[in-house]
Amino acid sequence: MKTNDTYYIDLIARYFYGEATTEEIGLLEAWVKSDPVNARLFSEYQKTWKTVENTRIGNSIDLDHEWNTLGSKLGIKEHEHKSKILYYSLRIAAIFLFLLVPAYFLYQHFDTPAEQQLAAGNEIIERTLPDGTVVTLNTGATLTFNPRFDGSIRRVTLTGEAWFEVARDKRKPFIIAAENVRIRVIGTSFFVNTKSSNDTKDIILSSGIVRVYYENKPQTMALLYPGEKAELLSNGYQVIRTTNEDVNFLSWKTKHMVFINTPLKEVVALLTKVYHSKISLSDAQLSDCRITTTFDGQSLESVLNVLKATLDLQSRNTGSGFELSGSVCKQSL
């Protein structure tokens, strides 16, 4: 009897994780109908599964990206200035729409400056550019551009880290300049870091195709496809193209982090970056403790709570952040 029930629970898991075959679904249905206790059990598993999955999925949906995708499918025209202002209003409450409408009329009557700059200070900022491209700047990053995007190309200059969702426009390629490196796209989503730790300019691509090259040596270039990473050396001309292994390259934006057998020192480094709080370890021995877990859009406090409970650590507020300490590294993790 016990073996039988284990079989059906495994089957329930297969069903909810999308692995069940047609035959298995039939078996599960028969089992559920055979006894109300089975039916109740099935319901409980369903509620459990749905709750856990809702968290994960809710956080993994990037509305801007999805809206861009829909826009491409419908062939919706390029955004004009008007929709840019309405876009801001969507993020505030509807009542502010009335305040913004007069502002729109004002906007029309003044000349736009030759170059505009977006700068992210201590907060991440996200903006829609006049062509519909959505850019998210990490703290300290700046983006300079001509708001009219006149001419044959759309050009922006970047320092720091940013995530781009470039609006499709076959007539006008979108070009990002970072010192002497150029990234040329038509319509796509990707991440750029102009100041990586190995003194390279890094580009990680999520969708579409981009070309990366050096301004004064365009033949030294690479075509990037989704899931790939390009590193361009700052001194010299070399493009290194690899498969992107870093699942957390966008954690600063999404607050979604995945750790699989990751040493604690890396976890702590990522937390420091994502939460802008200096997280440190009291003991060098803790650096190599490994952890496998995920975090989904939680506060730093919540993340630290989980780490402390899992690895039996304590935390101390250092003023500029937190220090984690503990006696021994739990090998079982």
Binding site: I9, A13, F16, E19, R40, L41, E53, L74, S83, T293
Partner: protein, 194 residues
């Protein structure tokens, strides 16, 4: 009061999209059990809405229209892939209801922390397999190949993970609590197989 003269333009679509997309994805996910498929179905529903924007009844809430479209597409998907079971969907509360704000609302931060704890409590290999499945969208076979273990092992570990979640999160899902005591399942967590 219906606003019959209101124009359904791109801005209208965007407002509707930003309000309803996530909820509808969670709703679709309940049916098709796959995140990417759920998103595609909801995207198609919005394409359908846009194409029919001049013919839909402005008096009826758009959300019901979208819900119905999504539900029908999901049922078609399940039928096409021979994964349709009306009885199971009934138990999952999916055969009649449209997207329900209560059921599909995004999970509170307190519960999110509990979920994190619950995952962290899983035995190491079990946790690794669970994360590969849920966060890296890998199928059982792919996980088995990557970790050089049998599919059966992956299956058992995924099952154990779900069993642990059920016990661990029961008190945070109040409706379930009294049911747990009727049928203590945690005994299976300690069974040796896998």
């Amino acid at each position: 009061m219906t606003k019959k003269t209101e124009k359904f333009d791109e801005q209208t679509l965007e407002v509707l999209f930003r309000s309803h997309f996530k909820g509808l994805c969670l709703f679709a996910f309940g049916f098709v059990k796959d995140g990417e498929t759920a998103k595609e179905i909801v995207q198609d529903a919005f394409v359908n809405l846009w194409e029919k924007r001049l013919t839909i009844d402005p008096g009826k809430p758009v959300k019901s229209y979208l819900s119905t479209t999504v539900r029908n597409k999901c049922l078609n998907y399940l039928r096409d892939h021979k994964k349709f079971s009306n009885d199971l969907l009934e138990l999952e509360n999916l055969s009649h209801n449209l997207a329900d704000d209560q059921a599909d609302k995004l999970v509170e931060s307190d519960l999110r922390e509990q979920i994190s704890h619950a995952i962290a409590e899983l035995p190491e290999k079990c946790r690794e397999i669970f994360i590969m499945s849920r966060h890296q969208n890998m199928k059982y076979q792919q996980i088995a190949d990557k970790l050089q273990i049998s599919v059966k092992t992956v299956e058992t570990q995924m099952s154990k993970a779900l069993q642990h979640m059920r016990i661990r999160l029961a008190e945070y899902l109040p409706v379930m609590y009294y049911l747990i005591t009727l049928f203590p399942c945690h005994l299976f967590l300690f069974s040796a197989s896998g």
